[in-house]
Each structure stands twice: as structure tokens, then as C-alpha cells.
């Protein structure tokens, strides 16, 4: 098979109905609103993150309308800063920020949480707060006449029954493990 023929075949890889699951997103909270999207692009044009990143809000909503489940693996959904500009301006009140939040919940269940978000969750689980306390912070707190450690779960991890942090971690942050991507079959065949 020559190179040109191969690339031609790749071009022919259009999606078919089997690639979409229109029913999947029917169960999400904002179902009735999402499907009334007119793809006007106000969300993308409003997007503070999208000015600098690959996040195209309109495109994400489009994929949801089509039932394209690849959106759950899309790293772009983790680029939203939840500034709510799109939510405020959407002429159909689709609430794109809310949609992205729900997609993140679905993606997390599938193990597709972004590494950065996973790290933040890790901090919370291990220490009880999202921002780590470094020496400078401790110094400042001392100067202000406060305890070195703020009264978070971390401070009391050894008090009480001594299991609060562990319980907290177990109930709140039971994240599924990182999912290993299956390589596409077609590529394997070609090899």
C-alpha cells in the first residue's frame, strides 16, 4: 500500500451513527436546555480561558448534543475557569458552565480526571486543604499571633478518634484509578 493510498483511507474514516450515543446525555441535569442550543458561539466568544487555550465551549456543547462520548476524554473540559461569562450571556440559557461541570463529573467517574485536578484533590484528601501550608505561611501566622496551623482537619488529624481525615478522604475523594487508554484497533492491524 503506497503512502498516498494510506492517507486517502485515513481521510475516509468518517464517523457513523455507532460512534454516537444520543441517549447518554439525555439523563444529565440540563438535558432540556442543552438540546435547544443554536450554536451561536456567544459562549466561545465570551470565554476568558478560550482566549488563551484550546477550550471551545460551543464545540463541547455540540458534542453533547450529538451524543459524542469522546467529549468525556477531551482534556479541554478541564480548562474552564468557571467564570460564568458564557452562562450569563447565553441567549438560550443553556448554562454551559453547568454542563461542563457535569461533564467533569462523568469524566471523573470514568477515570478521566485531569492530572492537575487529581493533584488538588490529593492535597485536599491528605491535608484537608487545597493550598499547601509552607514555611512562609507558618511564619506569617506566627507574626499575627495565630497558631502555625489553621484549624483544618489536618491540625486535628491525631485528635478525637484520629480518623476524621481518613474518613473524609474515603467518603469524599474516592477517585477511580487512572484509566489506561486502549489503543485503536485499526492502528494495530496496520502494524
Amino acid at each position: 500500500m503506497s503512502d498516498s493510498e494510506q492517507s486517502e483511507e485515513q481521510n475516509r474514516e468518517f464517523k457513523t451513527d455507532e460512534d454516537f450515543d444520543p441517549e447518554f446525555f439525555r439523563n444529565i441535569e440540563r438535558k432540556s436546555k442543552i438540546f435547544s442550543c443554536i450554536q451561536c458561539g456567544t459562549c466561545t466568544a465570551s470565554c476568558e480561558s478560550g482566549k488563551w487555550t484550546a477550550l471551545k465551549t460551543r464545540n463541547i456543547i455540540r458534542k453533547v448534543c450529538l451524543g459524542d462520548l469522546t467529549v468525556l476524554k477531551d482534556p479541554d473540559i478541564w480548562l474552564c475557569t468557571t467564570c460564568f461569562a458564557c452562562w450569563e450571556r447565553c441567549p438560550r440559557n443553556i448554562q454551559p458552565t453547568g454542563v461542563i461541570m457535569e461533564l467533569r463529573n462523568y469524566a471523573t467517574k470514568l477515570g478521566n480526571i485531569s492530572p492537575n485536578h487529581r493533584a488538588v484533590v490529593g492535597y485536599l484528601g491528605n491535608t484537608g486543604h487545597a493550598v499547601p501550608i509552607n514555611d512562609i505561611t507558618k511564619e506569617r501566622r506566627k507574626e499575627l499571633g495565630l497558631d502555625e496551623l489553621p484549624p483544618t482537619l489536618f491540625k486535628y488529624k491525631t485528635e478525637g478518634e484520629g480518623k476524621e481525615l481518613e474518613n473524609f478522604k474515603e467518603f469524599m475523594f474516592d477517585l477511580p484509578p487512572v484509566k489506561e487508554e486502549k489503543k485503536p484497533k485499526k492502528k494495530e492491524e496496520k502494524k
Partner: protein, 670 residues
């Protein structure tokens, strides 16, 4: 109705002959028969008391079906008919008319709706639907048994009409009515007639001059012997019903008498200048002024709100036409029909905050109507398009579509349907007048249905107008240079863009006119949820309002372009004239009767009667005004003793109808 009359009618009832009922079940193709077992329904009806015939047929509304109905009357001596088919509104009249043709009173027909109430709503439950149909038919037969004859009476109408609003739709309606020989009172709340059409530069799709198109109509109406024109006038009170309305309206003083020669001396000496409403703020006018050179009436008008009373105009007027002592007048007219052509307002985009319309520093954000004013021959800029901020010719012009349309946030879910067309028209004109400028239209969808409009779109594309599919999220202003940028995503290439906008034109929606709330309530007509006046039926009667005798013309019923408004107004005029030219309306005397042996003269019926059709005399004897009664039946549940009974809707008849549906029990007034 007098007491004696009531009693006579009651005695007539008692000598009623034995009921002989024929039942027909319609298949309506598969509409009914696909779900309901029509054969079974017809079979079960056969056993009901007084039923002499029960049949089913494919299409009862067909000629054969109607003949079956008529034959049963002729051959079997049937005196009441029941047809189980569609809604009463759809074919009830067809069957009533059919039995009338063979000599039966049309109120002896009982319609049973087994389509909307049965087969359409219970598609997945054939057995249940059939059972329900059987019960509905039994209820219908029970109701038919006691049906009485109802007389139809001719009520004379007042051969005159009132048209509210003198825009293109109102003018058309007034002209058409007058041409049919109906005297017309035309009232307009502004000082001039012609409406929005006079403000336009060109009309799409042929780029014609709107002044040239409308001036024969404005002149014709102003000089028509059968049309009385009142400007600065507003409706204050409406009474009566279809055929005979009494309308009171108020005419605000013009402060200039009709002998004004339109010389303009007064205006030239007037020291006050305010933004012109007619010119959408694109030029200034004096406190005594004429909106535009061709204005009809051409008499000047004084704006009392802004006038400081310096009397310069009085002193300078060569014919002493200016008179500050003029007072508000009230006038009352009797008319048979009312045509409402109150038009529309351009949506005020200042509500959409990210576009900053009307805010400081955003002078170059204007609306399409303002652009029309700049382009028009009567503009202050000599038809040049200049930036309001610095008076320069803009290089980059961006138009934003769907401003206030298709926007749930501002409560306008509808597509105005006209903006795409006028934006494309104006974009093309701009590109023709300024070939070096960049004209961009940011749209969500281009909607150009109908003959010649797609061609207009194509011609704009060919001449170089740039179309970007995306709704701008905001207009940003560089605080140092004052430059405007339009932020939009080109959704087709998935590229966020910042477009230079030396002039930004907002294609604002058409919204209901201000003051439509009070007008609607004075006319007692319903409004749609968008605020326009609601038509009787969106497909079959878009010109009749929710109230008989009041008709809608043009954009008051919903956004329309000029051709649609003119066609709509013509239809409204024809409907409004029909019963005036004929001279009478036929009213079915479906009115309540009062049983004076039960009446305790409490007056509750009078309290609830919306059309005020219940009269009371000195001896506290209540009676029904037959002409005013609207057969709504509100008086019946209000009556504590059951003395007042609407003919063919009496407690007795309704009880009989309810019994088969409720499983044998019915209580009313017990």
C-alpha cells in the same frame, strides 16, 4: 327579556316530541379508527334509549357522510343527531348546517370528540380508548336527548369602522374599508401618519423608495371623503360588542390650527432643540416642528413638554395659526368594527449590557433604524454614513444580528424574521456606496425565505459583504483610542475573532409597541406571551383578535415586513367590512333563562356577568339582555338556587351528560 317571554319558552319545552336519535361514528381515516374500535362503539350505541340508528363511516365530513346524516332525518324521522368524530370547532358546524338543510334546528346536533379527546391522546391503549369512546358517545346521546331549538336572530350593525394606528397597515386597512363604502375613523397617536415606513431609506428586496411607495396611500387616506383622520389621538374607552361598539378617544392639542401653511417660520425662531424622535435621535428638532418635509398632515405641531413658552412662534406666524390655548378634546364614535394596526417598536438594545448601546463612549453603536435614517434622502448627513462620534466615514462596519430576537434572556424567544433581510439590504447599500469599506454581518442563521430574498443575500455576498457565523459576545472599547472591537467566534472555522468596528449596527428586534397594555385592556382583547395582540387562530384566522368585531392588521399581531403587513391589513379590512356591508350579524340566541319561581333577586348573576348583559328593574326583577349576552355561562354557577339556566347547557342537561362519564353520579346545584 321580559318575564312573560321566559315563561312562554318554558311551556314550549314541555310539549317536546319523543326524541329519536341517530349516532354516527367517524373513522377519520386512521386518525380515529387506527386506535378506537369504531364498529364496537357504534354497536354499543345501538342499545342506548331513544337511539334509532347507529353507524360508522370512513369520513363523516365527506359528502356521503353528510348525506347519511340527512337521510336518517328524512327516512327515519330522526330529530337529534350525534356524530362522534373530531372537535366541535372543526366540523361541528358542518353537521349542524347539514341537519339545518333538511329542516332540523341546527342546535339539535350533538358533537362528540373522539379524536382529540380519545384516539390522539390514547394512541398506545386501544382498548381503553375504545371504552372511553363508548362512554363519550353515551354522554353525547344523553345530552342530545334534551336538546332544545335555538333561534337565530339578525342584529343590525353600525356601518362604520375604527382603525387604530396610521402606519402602512392601518392606512391600507382604512383605505380598503373606505373603498368598500364603510365610513372610517382613523386615529394615530403620533403627529404624522405613515409610521415606520416613512423612516426607511429603501425597501427590500427591490431597493425601492419607501416614500414614493407610501405617499399615494397617505395622500389618498388624508383626502378620502369617507375617512376621518385624527392625529395625536388615543383610545380611552371601548364599549359594546361586534357590530355595535361605542369608542371614546382623546385628541391631544396640536397648538397649531389647520390654517398653517407649513412655512416653517415658527420653527426657525424657536430657541429649543431636542433630539428628533422621528429621526431616531440622528438629528435635532425644535419645540415647534414638523417631523419631516413630506409629513402628513403638514400642519406644524408644538411639543408642550419641551416648549418654554417664549411666544416667538406666535409672534412670527404670518397666518396666526399658533395657539397655545388649544385643549385636549374628547370624541365618541359608534362603529361596527375595530381594526387595530398599532404596529411595533424597535427593540431598545441598551438592555443587552455587553453591547453598551447608548452608553458613554459607545456613540458608534447604533441600530439599523438609525442607519436607515443616516442613509435616507432626508437625513441630516446628506445620505452619507458618518460615525456619530467624530463625523468620519467608517472603514469597518460590523452588523450584529438577533439583537433582542432569539434571546430567552430578554424574553423574546421568537425570530423577528425581518432583520436578516434589512441587514443584508443595508450591507449591500453600504458596500455599493463605500466600495473600500469592509462590511461584516455576524449572524446565527441567515433566514431569507421567499421570492427574491435569497437572491438579495447572494447579491450581497457577490458584492463583497463578509458573513461571519457567530453571535458576538461583547463590544469592547479601547479606553485610550476609543476604538471599538467586536468579539465573536467564527463558528464555522472555530476561530475566535476580534473585529474592528468603526461603526457597529445592531439589528434590533421588532417588539410590541409601547402602550399596548392599556390599549389591549381597553379593547378587551388577549395578548400573546410575547406581548403582541393574540390572533383568533394562527393558521385559519390570523386577522381576527380574541374578541369578535376587533381585527388585527400588520405587526401588532407579530413581526412582519411591509408586504406581509399590507396583505394582513387587506385581509383584516375585508373581514371587518363583511358584516358592515351586509348590514347585520346573525346571533344565536344561546342565552340564559330565568325561572322566576326560584329567583331570589340576589343579583349574583349580574355581578359575574362580564359583558354586563343582566338588567335589573325597579322591582328587583332581573332579566337577560339578549343582544349583549355572550353565552359564556358564568351566571349559572353563580346562581345559588339554579334559577338561571343557559339554554342547552342547563344543570339538568349537563348532569345527564356527566353520568356515563362519572360512573353514575353527578351533583350540581343539589
Amino acid at each position: 327579556m321580559t318575564k312573560a317571554n321566559n315563561e312562554a319558552n318554558v311551556s314550549e319545552l314541555e310539549t317536546e316530541e319523543e326524541p329519536r336519535i341517530a349516532v354516527f361514528v367517524c373513522h377519520c381515516g386512521h386518525n380515529i379508527a387506527g386506535t378506537v374500535d369504531v364498529e364496537k362503539v357504534a354497536e354499543s350505541a345501538k342499545d342506548l334509549p331513544n337511539v334509532v340508528k347507529a353507524e360508522h363511516y370512513m369520513f363523516m365530513c365527506s359528502k356521503t357522510g353528510v348525506k347519511m346524516l340527512q337521510d336518517s332525518i328524512k327516512e327515519l324521522g330522526v330529530n337529534r343527531t350525534v356524530v362522534a368524530s373530531c372537535s366541535k370547532l372543526q366540523h361541528g358546524r358542518t353537521f349542524a348546517k347539514a341537519i339545518e338543510e333538511v329542516g332540523l334546528n341546527k342546535h339539535k346536533h350533538q358533537q362528540v370528540n373522539v379524536r382529540e379527546f380519545c384516539s390522539w391522546v390514547h394512541k398506545n391503549d386501544k382498548e381503553g380508548a375504545t371504552q372511553k369512546a363508548i362512554q363519550l358517545v353515551e354522554a353525547g346521546v344523553n345530552r342530545a336527548r334534551k336538546l332544545e331549538d335555538v333561534e337565530t336572530r339578525k342584529i343590525p350593525t353600525t356601518k362604520a369602522a375604527l382603525v387604530i394606528g396610521a402606519g402602512v397597515a392601518g392606512l391600507r386597512a382604512a383605505n380598503d374599508l373606505a373603498e368598500l363604502g364603510v365610513p372610517v375613523t382613523l386615529i394615530e397617536k403620533n403627529s404624522t401618519i405613515g409610521g415606520h415606513m416613512t423612516q426607511l431609506n429603501k425597501t427590500f428586496p427591490t431597493l425601492e423608495c419607501p416614500q414614493c411607495s407610501i405617499s399615494p396611500l397617505t395622500n389618498g387616506v388624508a383626502n378620502h371623503p369617507l375617512i376621518d383622520l385624527y392625529t395625536l389621538a388615543q383610545v380611552k374607552n371601548v364599549e359594546g360588542s361586534m357590530g355595535n361598539f361605542t369608542v371614546e378617544f382623546e385628541i391631544k392639542p396640536r397648538y397649531v390650527h389647520d390654517n398653517c401653511t407649513s412655512c416653517g417660520e415658527c420653527s426657525s425662531v424657536c430657541p429649543i432643540e431636542v433630539p428628533s424622535e422621528w429621526d431616531k435621535g440622528m438629528s435635532m428638532r425644535k419645540a415647534i416642528y414638523k417631523a419631516y418635509p413630506q409629513a402628513i398632515p403638514s400642519t406644524f405641531v408644538r411639543d408642550k413638554q419641551t416648549c418654554i413658552g417664549c411666544n416667538s412662534c406666535i409672534n412670527v406666524c404670518p397666518v396666526q395659526a399658533v395657539d397655545f390655548s388649544m385643549k385636549t378634546e374628547k370624541k365618541t364614535v359608534n362603529v361596527g368594527s375595530i381594526v387595530v394596526a398599532a404596529g411595533f417598536n424597535e427593540y431598545d438594545p441598551s438592555e443587552i449590557e455587553p453591547y453598551h448601546y447608548g452608553q458613554d463612549g459607545y456613540d458608534d453603536v447604533i441600530t439599523q433604524l438609525q442607519l436607515e435614517r443616516m442613509l435616507s434622502p432626508t437625513s441630516i448627513t446628506n445620505s452619507e454614513v458618518l460615525r456619530p462620534s467624530d463625523g468620519r466615514i467608517p472603514k469597518n462596519i460590523v452588523m450584529i444580528q438577533c439583537v433582542g430576537s432569539r434571546n430567552d434572556q430578554v424574553g423574546n424567544a421568537y425570530c423577528t424574521g425581518v432583520c436578516c433581510k434589512f441587514a443584508i439590504k443595508n450591507a449591500r447599500i453600504l458596500k455599493e456606496n463605500y466600495p473600500n469599506s469592509n462590511v461584516t454581518i455576524c449572524y446565527i442563521d441567515v433566514r431569507t425565505p421567499g421570492l427574491n430574498f435569497e437572491e438579495l443575500y447572494k447579491s450581497a455576498q457577490e458584492i463583497g459583504v463578509r458573513f461571519i457565523r457567530g453571535r458576538p459576545s461583547e463590544i469592547l472599547r479601547n479606553p485610550l483610542t476609543g476604538e471599538l472591537r467586536v468579539i465573536v467566534e467564527d463558528t464555522l472555522s472555530m476561530t475566535p475573532l476580534q473585529l474592528k468596528g468603526d461603526l457597529v449596527v445592531l439589528s434590533a428586534a421588532m417588539v410590541p409597541p409601547e402602550g399596548i397594555g392599556p390599549l389591549g385592556s381597553r379593547l378587551h382583547v388577549l395578548r400573546s406571551k410575547e406581548g403582541f395582540l393574540k390572533e383568533f387562530h394562527i393558521k385559519m384566522n390570523p386577522t381576527l383578535s380574541s374578541k369578535g368585531g376587533i381585527y388585527l392588521a400588520g405587526a401588532i399581531q407579530g413581526p412582519k415586513d411591509i408586504s406581509e403587513s399590507v396583505a394582513h391589513a387587506g385581509g383584516a379590512a375585508a373581514l371587518a367590512a363583511a358584516h358592515l356591508v351586509k348590514g347585520y350579524i346573525e346571533k344565536e340566541m344561546l342565552i340564559p333563562k330565568i325561572d322566576y319561581s326560584l329567583c331570589i333577586s340576589c343579583g349574583l348573576c349580574k355581578t359575574v356577568c362580564a359583558p354586563a348583559a343582566i338588567d335589573v328593574d325597579q322591582d328587583r326583577v332581573y332579566s337577560v339582555n339578549e343582544v349583549a349576552c355572550k353565552s359564556c355561562g358564568m351566571c349559572m354557577p353563580a346562581c345559588p338556587t339554579g334559577a338561571i339556566q343557559l339554554i342547552n347547557f342547563s344543570d339538568d342537561q349537563l348532569r345527564d351528560e356527566i353520568i356515563p362519564l362519572s360512573g353514575g353520579e353527578a351533583h350540581c346545584h343539589d
